[in-house]
Amino acid sequence: MRLFHNYHYAAAMLLFCLGLHTVIVRRNIIKKLIGLNIMETSVFFFYISLGYLDGGIAPIRVGGADPARMVNPIPQALILTGIVVAVSVTALALSMVILLYRQYGTLDVDRLMREEEPEAVESGKED
């Protein structure tokens, strides 16, 4: 059964679904962001597993290391980019959370989004 052989990928996919579930269901916006980060981490894990090689070694050519046994360097290089992107998005989202909490005094997404929804036109007019 390929599924059990590819258990790394399966774990990554399950983690992805777990993160998406957190993003959809949780009402606290910090927890939503945690879910987002779980999703991101799962994808990073998936990529790194793609580069895995049975009995592989690090792709650093020191002391006559055999290139045929080295693991795939591309996913690692890509994921460095992915991590940076994830950090950037998280930083921006958190700074927005700071501002939202200051202005609304709540972290509950339902209350945040519902508040003043009908008056949006009026309140927009002032500024």
């Binding site: 992805f16 998406l20 993003v23 916006i29 939503k32 987002l36 999703m39 991101e40 994808v43 998936f46 990529y47 793609l50 591309i74 996913p75 890509l78 980019t81 992915g82 992107v85 950037s88 998005v89 921006l92 989202a93 927005m96 959370v97 501002l99 939202l100 202005q103 609304y104 997404v109 945040l112 989004m113 003043e116 949006a120 036109v121 309140s123 927009g124 007019k125 002032e126 500024d127």
Partner: protein, 494 residues
Amino acid sequence: MGAWRHFPIFMITVPLLGAVLLPFLGYAKERWVPYVALLPLGASTLLGILLIGRIPSGGYLSYHMGGWEPPFGIEIRLDYVGLFLMLVVCGITFLALIYSRRYIDKEVSPGRRTAYYVLYLLMSGAMLGFVATGDIFNLFVFMEILALSSYALVAITGNRNAVRAAFKYILMGAPSSIIVLLAIGLLYSVTGTLNMADLARRIAESGYTEVLIVSYILLVVGFGVKAALFPLHMWLPDAHSIAPSPISALLSGLLVEVCTFALVRITFSVFTLGATDLVMGTADAVGVAAAAAVLYGGIMAILQKDLKMMIAYSTVSHIGYIFLGLTAFTAEGLTGAMYHMLDHGLAKACLFLCAGNFIYMKGYRRIEDLKGAWSQMPWTCFAFALASISVIGIPPTAGFISKWYLILGNVEGGKWLYAVVLLAGSILAAVYCFRILYYMFFQAGKEGAWEESWHDAPPAMLAPVWVLSLATLFFGVFSSLLIPSLLRAAAYLL
């Protein structure tokens, strides 16, 4: 082998470098920032214009980053369709930046103005890179720069509604980026390459059909959120209506199109050879969603009370148009979609900037407040009328040409129902546009709402609006300039 070989990369990097250097100017002479920010975009536009005629007809210009040949290094692949879209991006960002200075001075607090221009340049550079790149992971990287800068630009005024809209945008946008990343990983796992042309070859001979299918669906969903395709559009009305007007123009007129274009490239130049049945099947589903978007967007736009909200829902409707052109899978449909990207970009940018003029001069956002606007702001009202006509699709404008080709493409593809939906969408557009025009020109405003004498927006804000609205007219009258080459390019893509 002239210096023009390097133009594509400079078109992309010059705005990015400008964004990095701008803060230095911000410390020294903050007054100059809005003017100097125009330089990199002007340079990009110039380089893009110089590139016209250099690209072999029916072919593409390939630039190998760092001199590494494609599957190993990153490739910039620019064909005429890409260059066309890049020029549209350059032009509209340039005009909206001219517009920005006065508007931003009023709406954004002084401490954030430099950040506004930095993010603006980053966003323009990212859009250019996004269109030009020939590497699927590079596409993701530029998409992220684009997404980050647009999240922040929506929230830049810092008032509570803006931050809330931006946060909603993040909550939809960030998971969609991750979904795209996952899809790219799946593609990579079965092909071992990231270059788009190489991917197309490898997909054709790859036996892992199921993985390809799911990765295509994930890509459609991921880019669908960014492009605000109907069931995934929830972030759009809030973000587009609350952002400062030049940013609304960019988001609505360009960002959405650029993301759609990415999907076009993925569909037509990556998944062409392999898993065709499935791409067709997904396209059918997308077609249904797009048809729903046309009707839903139109109806919601009629129901709105807020002017910018109405224009935003009209965007939802027009994204449906573009997607219906793509899913027809005929050269005419594709040409119509491409041309609609152009004219929707111009017209929507124009409408949002006009709405910005009303907000700037009088602070009016509601449609009812526009009654009698003609008496004070005739220039803005005329530009608004011209752009509305293009949005509806009445003959002398570009909107007519694109809708004509869209309907033609769908009829030729045997999709009569969609052609009817497109016509119905135009009728809805006529309803919501003519209502405003009626208010503007034929109704008297409330006592004291408008001054009796002409007192229009400053020239720096009127000029971009007029250039945009005249451009819709120009591309409507002289459509033969672009249509033949677009048809050829579309036939080449199919």
